[in-house]
């Protein structure tokens, strides 16, 4: 049971991936990508958690106080910014595709293959 947090992260990753693979709308698909990415935040923050630890902010606290891992939080911050950038770009690309092909259904966009 103390593995529940990690299982949640893996679950979100799979759910997001399934959403990306089956999506019928590029706007919807972009959101599914953010869901998939949110699994990495959940996993990162879970593995860095220390039971009974405080946030790694030592204003008004002794520097030796028990605190959670600051590294995973720094990584999560970077990750969140990446997700904004990627979503904006994919939406812009989706709009371009829509302007040219008249659809946001990825299954309908494929006019060339092989």
């Amino acid at each position: 049971m103390s593995y529940l947090p990690y299982a949640v992260a893996a679950w979100i990753c799979l759910v997001g991936l399934a959403g990306v693979a089956t999506s019928r709308n590029l706007v919807h698909l972009a959101v599914c990508l953010t869901v998939m990415q949110s699994s990495t935040y959940v996993l990162l923050l879970s593995v860095g958690y220390v039971a009974g630890g405080r946030a790694p902010i030592f204003k008004g606290a002794k520097p030796g106080a028990k605190a959670v891992d600051p590294v995973v939080q720094a990584l999560t911050l970077t990750d969140v910014v990446v997700s904004v950038a990627v979503v904006a770009l994919i939406l812009a690309l989706a709009l371009d595709a829509h302007r040219l092909a008249g659809t946001v259904d990825p299954d309908g966009l494929a006019d060339v293959h092989g």
């Binding site: 103390s2 593995y3 529940l4 947090p5 990690y6 299982a7 992260a9 893996a10 990753c13 799979l14 991936l17 399934a18 693979a21 089956t22 996993l43 879970s46 593995v47 860095g48 958690y49 220390v50 039971a51 009974g52 946030a55 790694p56 902010i57 030592f58 204003k59 008004g60 520097p63 030796g64 605190a67 959670v68 891992d69 600051p70 590294v71 995973v72 939080q73 720094a74 990584l75 911050l77 970077t78 969140v80 910014v81 990446v82 904004v84 950038a85 990627v86 904006a88 770009l89 939406l91 812009a92 690309l93 709009l95 371009d96 302007r99 299954d107």
Partner: protein, 248 residues
């Protein structure tokens, strides 16, 4: 591949992947038992060495400052990319038109108050980022978001000054490029790239952390302008033509 074929392939693949990830996370230390050492070392050394009481920001802007430089440029590249994509698609469209206003005077008043408050809170978040929770990204995003409220409450004319590309482009480059310049300043003085140069100050006050403050403000500027440009590109090129199409 037909949709049914895809699902038939995806199902087993996800099961396999789920088994793999499940097997993987079962080997992790139990929740709440982070074993270190990296994080514990930083919890111990950042405050004495850098005088920033927010260790996360000390990590983001100093210990792992180069990651954040990459992050700034990811946002920068995304904005450049969105601009490139959306503007190339809009060539030949008729010019923009003056915007429309929203709702009643009371609603607008509320909005303007919120804008003032939001900008203040955003600046506060950015300023105290390395002392208490917050930082350049969070503060910058809040400032950008509240300036955007002007678009809703004041119409395009009130928001327009914030959209002048001639002003936005150099400012954003100043933010992202400023980060690099601060790093290069250390290199020029014979120290490793991004070395903290300025005085460390008193822990728990605004005057702490040395270069962290400068990097933090560079990043706040870059993020604010980046998000403003991003919103502007999406709103200008997309919402305004939509309104026109509806009138027609």
């Amino acid at each position: 591949m037909s949709r049914r074929g895809r699902l038939a392939l995806l199902g087993p693949a996800l099961l396999g992947l789920g088994a793999l990830l499940g097997w993987g996370v079962a080997g992790l230390p139990a929740f709440g038992h982070y074993r270190g050492p990296y994080g514990f070392v930083l919890d111990r050394i950042v405050v004495p060495l850098r005088h920033t009481t927010n260790v996360v920001m000390g990590t983001t802007f100093d210990v792992r400052g180069v990651d954040t430089m990459g992050e700034e440029f990811i946002l920068y590249a995304a904005v450049l990319g969105v601009t490139l994509l959306l503007r190339s698609g809009e060539r030949g469209r008729p010019g923009r038109q003056a915007g429309e206003r929203l709702g009643t005077d009371g609603l607008r008043l509320l909005g303007v108050t919120m804008v003032g408050g939001g900008v203040l809170v955003g600046l506060w978040l950015a300023a105290f980022g390395y002392v208490t929770p917050g930082g350049g990204f969070q503060g910058g995003a809040l400032v950008a978001g509240t300036i955007l409220l002007l678009y809703l409450v004041g119409g395009r004319s009130a928001y327009a000054p914030f959209l002048a590309e001639a002003a936005l482009d150099p400012l954003e480059s100043l933010g992202a490029g400023g980060y690099v310049v601060i790093g290069l300043a250390a290199l020029a003085s014979g120290l490793p790239f991004l070395t903290n140069l300025l005085g460390l100050g008193t822990p728990g006050s605004l005057v702490s952390g040395g270069s962290i403050a400068a990097l933090n403000w560079a990043s706040a500027l870059a993020v604010t302008v980046a998000l403003l440009t991003l919103f502007a590109e999406f709103l200008e090129t997309y919402v305004v033509p939509l309104a026109r199409a509806d009138e027609a």
